[in-house]
Amino acid sequence: MQYLIQSELFSLSAVLAGSLLMFGAHLAALLRHRDLLMVVLLSFTAELGTSLAGYGTGTVSGLTGSGLHLLYQTTAHLTAMLALISLGRGAGSFRLDALTGIGSARSVTSAVFGFAMVASLGLTPFKGAISRPATLYGMVETGQWIPALLVLAGTVLALWYTLKIVLPVCFSTDKTISADQVETGRAPFFTPLALILAGVLAALHAMPETVVHWVEHLASLTGAPGHLPRFESPWPAAATVPYVGGFMLVVAARFLPRTVKGLPVLETGAALLSAASLALIFTAGVSPLSLLFAAIMGFISLAVIVYSAGYMRGHGHASRYWLFLLLMQGSLTGLCLARDLGSLYGFWELMTLSSAILVIHDQTGKALRAGFKYFFMCGAGAYALLFGILVLHAGTGSFEFTALAAAAPGLSPTIIALTGLGCLIGFAVKAGLVPVHGWLPEAHPVAPSSVSGPLSGILTKTGIYGMTLVLFALFGSGTMAQGAPARVLELLPLLGGATLLFAEIMALRQTDLKRMLAYSTMAQVGEITAVLGLGTALAVTGAMAHVVNHAVMKNLLFFGAGLLILRAGTARIDDLKGMGRAMPLTGLCMLAGSLAIMGLPPFGGFASKFLMVSACIDAGRPLLATAILGGGLIGVMYYIRLVRVLFFEKYEGPAVAEAPTTCLIAMSGLALASLIMGVQPQACLALVSPVTEWLVQAGKVQASIVPDLAVTWPWFAVLPMLGAAVPFYFRNNLERSGWGTTAVLGVTFLAVALSFGSMDTMSLCFALLVVLMGALNTVYSVSYMDHSHTQWRFFAFFLVMIGGLLGVAGSPDLFSFFLFWEIMSSWTLYCVIVHEETPGALREGYKYFLFNVLGATCMFFGVVLLGTSAGSFDLTVVGTALGSMPGAAGAVGMGCIALGFAMKAAMLPLRIDIWMHPATAPTPVSGYISSVLLKSGPFGLMKLLFVMGGAGFFAGQSGYWSQPAIMSGLAWIAGITIVFAAAMALMQSGLKRMLIYSTVSQLGYIVLGIATGTSLAVSAGLLHFVNHMVFKNLIFLAAGAIMYRTHADSLEQLAGIGRKMPVTLAVFAIGAFSAIGLPPLNGFTSKWMLYHGLMAEGDVILAILSLGGSVLTMAYFLKFLHGAFFGRPDPRFDTLTEVGPLMRVPMCILAGACVVLGVFPGLALMPINGIIAGLGFAPLEVHLYGPASGAGAWNATAVAGLMLAAYLAARGILALMNRTERETHMHACGVDDLSDEQLHVSASGLYEPAVTLVRQWLALPGSLPIFNRKG
């Protein structure tokens, strides 16, 4: 005996024969899996082969494994056979077809059959069997790789057919066999026998220690070398409690009524067990990495259980559901708390099994197919993982994390690479990385939403946990850095990036909500993996932070989606129209989740995305950063579509009930968590930074600077955001709601004024203007919005938007600046723009939103690049570090940010006609966007170029990025934009469309001034900044007044209403002449100074462009005046009246401001002079009447006085003349049968000859849609 074992030849041949037999028999079983009897027999044969192979290895481990395997497999197959005979006799056949669905008739027997079959794979709900790992270990230990792989491959085959058999037999509901179709009593003793054996089998698995010891002892008696690895260590209490408790609960529930004292037994018990488990995690005393993941698992599991209490009410198979939910939590917690790889593997298998049962909970054919895919892929992946683990043990002799971490530096690269690869395959399957992602988009939609949530949110994260653990905590990035291991590590960014892009594109194409969310999960996990693969401390931090955030937000999304789908009865996104409003609380949670996952502040996803992009830049992988940002951009597209469908489409179904309370508790808890992590990103960072510190201290990961994500929330910015509650509180009353909003802005104004000193002058002035204009527009809206709907929503979002804008003004560092920028220009803006919910508004809002996000993405890249290169996000620190930045980092960073600002300021001549149309927004908002919000672009440019010192930086550069290239480029873009946009405005007949183009054109003057960068030009830019704010808001409000009264949106529909609306006409004329720049109104001084500034720099062409723009400005405003106010009055407007005082007063205030600022430009110029002096420019000599000396000097007050004198002179001359007046008919050459319409020269006809001519020259087809678009 002893001789035989020690004979190498025997050993080799036994192992080889055994493994070949095993593989062959499994293959045969697979091919003949429709005949169940044959399958059981072949499978048993195969496992005998495994035993033989184990025996052949001749090591203690192999022998123990072999013996145990024989025991387990015999029991399992015997049980299966008995149960099968019982079933087969009942159904009259042993064919799979005949037995499919018998589970519904013979549930116990079929369950025993299934249990035994799965147990033969080494998987039971009680515990896995160690016999197969031990056998395999024997082979690996003796270096018999090929047989080991053969056995693994055979096991994969077995997994395949076992699932193919068990799932239909036990769970199928597509084809069911009713109890009366089954003959009972043909073999009465088989079932009890099988049950008894199953009990033995369960006991063998649940309490294997005695048997294992016994067999091991026997094996060691043979004197074989080696020893049995400690595959299992005692379970942590946090895992045992839900696990054992789950079984006890289900048993107890059988004997208890459904509810005890009003509390549902199962649900309450589960929640208590879950909470206990969560609490116990913190007593486990494990590494920070384990603790973090275990805490996430525990927290989310608790949320899932609370949610399920409401969601699963009324679903069938409650006991099974709750049991496996608790088992899943137990195995997840145990997996994360494990201190050795053996336990980790054991829990891994348990996790797969328990979650797979949950996935197929509904037992539909689709669910079974998806469940099969899930179980098979993850199970097969797990075998790869097992292989990796065993290889590692063979190299180190231990499974213990601490021992492995210590031994890692001395390991051979081959072992590391093999282990790494094996583990990576296992983890990648679970994480759903391309190309082993197939199960993920299948399993999510079919599982109950309460399971899809954790499936996405935390189960995929076990893959991330595994990768972090094995690659970094055990091996360390230093060990992984060279040779073969480095190639394994490099797989992470590669697979992650591929997954990210593939999944985002796939998600965009989905019509099923849950499928879309599933693909989105893939994408998020992909980016986490990609970043993780960079292996720096920052990368790990970023990845971990996103793990936390994604766990929270994706569960939130699935929970919400589940309820919406439940109530709507469909998962098609298009069929969920308006559901967010039909179920407002659920909808709100969905909204929070969607915003979070789009990476928009103030929700969690933003900060972690920021960290991840930083990590990419920091590690010198800008391409990866671009991929993440690009993927995010795609993500934004489909999530905003979801937001649109849920909230801004009409709901047409019957009234639906709001979600059950427990669901709401779970969802709001998650939403709150996401909000907190978004408002204080530092809090999220505090959760994950212990992990990184631990890794760094252990020398496993390179240290790197983790950026400070502390956000300063100035209270004047928080005030309006919180104040959004006021209009909501008064939601039933438009007036109170509007006045409440105005009051909030009033208080905000005080707050801004009181924080004098905490901001520089420029920011303070900007903030004050932001609030003032906001207050005017809200007063106006009180009247304007009375024809609209849900006004409170409009006011609330308006306030949040203003809050964001104020935050932008008050931010001392780039990170907070960008955070507020995102708040201001993304979702709040979108929600306000699409307020009217017309198809046009939704379409334009979507485009505008995307355009803004695109600009913000550019900025994102730039901000991260600069901040990472400078090591800080503080504006001044970045400014001083600019010069010493490596390579083109400074220039590219600044360029990207400048591009972002320029896009905000609409300075992109390319196709602005497509993007820049929030024309469909409510007019007070259009006005606000045009006059105030878009100014954040020039404001940002000022900060970038002059506060951060970009101007000096660009001037000092040489080479390709020399010049002030960016500045002069910007100036040229601005100059061209002025003329192009003005020409476009001239072509328009849409009331607001024309004004929007006008805004673009006028912003060109501002950007041109700033980009020219001399005292005079910058002052001119800033003065126009203020002037434009006043007159463009005025013009928009006047246009709004016309729309409010006439409901027209095009000049074509108007004629001669000036006499009916004299105040509107007067203020519009003042605004228009200000914009044209007729002295002494306010647009003149700024343009005047700008021309002088440009000419002083010798920028003649730019000066001509900007002056030419003025002529065009005059032309389009005269067209507006003629088309709307003058011309032949139309009888339709006979009953038209002037708008009410609430709209008149803000307009008159603005008109007054135009005149006052025009006559006394010093009012604005003096503070501006202070600002530019503070920025290091030579101040101008400025008086109240205007610039007093040098180029651009003029006396506005005196010229205004002279104009007045000339006016009086004209009046005087007229007074000397005959003052009688008589009304006559208009002269029409005697033709009196023409209608009013025929006598009116419409707005679009006004410049027809010129337009026709230009069109001919440029060979533009008349059908080109740029001419006279509506809106």
């Binding site: 003629h1122 003349m1217 005959n1218 208009m1226 000859p1249 010129a1250």
Partner: protein, 320 residues
């Protein structure tokens, strides 16, 4: 205080106000007389334009019932006001420096269009389709001639500025420079600019062949069709002022030379030159051509005056 009073004097009496009005009306008279002679007619008396204004002032005002009355009444006043302030900024070499402390030639660029804007508003508010057509044509014409004017002004500013190292927008300095260095009329570099300015003159004054906006035979004087009595008189006065501004600006920009230091002589010399410029730039062409169509005019202006102006600018830029 005295400065304020002096400005008011310059605005109301000289060179704006009274002087400009009378001189403008006289110019109009000369124009009509010479025009008639060229057509072998006797023509009206030189002071006929003045008599016309007085006569109009004594008639009643007719306002169409459908007009926007406020704007209909305000338009002539607005135009008059703009032209009057503009006239004050024209220096009379050796007599008046054009109030350089208040503003410069860019100011004229903004004041000069005010009369045109007034005409547009007048046509638009009169509710007459002829008025609207006239307004439309006036605007198109403005596209056509504003850019050449702008470029010509920049050319002069650059030319003067090169001597002092920069650009010079002050008309007073333009005069000074030419008094020291000779008139731009004799400077070959400036010839394209001068030609362009001449063409601008035709356009801005709306005389044949570019009188699209009024075009009596087509649209019955367009914006002016519904005007009568004092309102029409105001427009006539506005035209008179504008004539002085445009011809005076031409003189200042291209041949502001003086005769000695006697202000009276210089004033007379200025008037002679302005008259001469008007005869060349308005009367001769008006008498010898017919009206062009709108598109022809537009095309003409976008080609020739604009092209010439840019050529002048380029020349100055290169040779300056």
């Amino acid at each position: 205080m005295s400065e304020t009073l002096s400005y008011i004097f310059h605005l109301l009496i000289f060179p704006g106000g009274l002087f400009a009005l009378l001189f403008g009306l006289l110019l109009k008279g000369i124009d009509r007389k010479v025009f008639a002679r060229l057509q072998r007619r006797i023509g009206p008396p030189l002071l006929q334009p003045l008599f016309d204004v007085i006569k109009l002032g004594r008639k009643e005002t007719l306002i169409p019932a459908t007009a926007h009355k406020g704007m209909f009444r305000f338009a002539p006043v607005l135009g008059f006001m703009g032209a009057m302030v503009a006239a004050m900024f024209i220096p009379v070499p050796g007599v008046w420096d054009g109030a350089p402390g208040l503003g410069d030639m860019l100011m004229l660029l903004y004041l000069l269009p005010i009369p045109a804007v007034a005409l547009i508003l007048a046509g638009s508010s009169s509710s007459s389709p002829f008025g609207a057509l006239g307004a439309s044509r006036e605007m198109i014409l403005m596209f056509a001639y504003e850019i050449p004017l702008l470029v010509v002004l920049l050319t002069v500013a650059l030319r003067v500025g090169y001597a002092t190292g920069g650009v010079e927008f002050s008309l007073a300095r333009v005069v000074e420079y030419q008094l020291a260095h000779g008139s731009f009329l004799l400077d070959p570099v400036m010839l394209p600019a001068f030609a362009s300015y001449l063409l601008f003159n035709y356009g801005t004054k709306g005389s044949v062949p570019f009188d699209l906006a009024e075009a009596e035979t087509e649209i019955l004087e367009g914006p002016l069709l519904e005007y009568s009595g004092p309102s029409l008189a105001m427009f006539q006065l506005m035209f008179a002022l504008k004539m002085v501004v445009v011809t005076g600006l031409g003189v200042v920009l291209f041949f502001p030379g003086t005769l000695g230091t006697n202000p009276v002589v210089n004033l007379a010399w200025f008037c002679c030159k302005a008259t001469g410029l008007m005869l060349v730039a308005v009367t001769l062409l008006r008498a010898s051509t017919g009206r062009l169509r709108t598109d022809q005019t537009f095309r003409f202006y976008l080609k020739y005056p604009t092209g010439l102006a840019y050529a002048g600018l380029g020349l100055t830029w290169i040779l300056g």
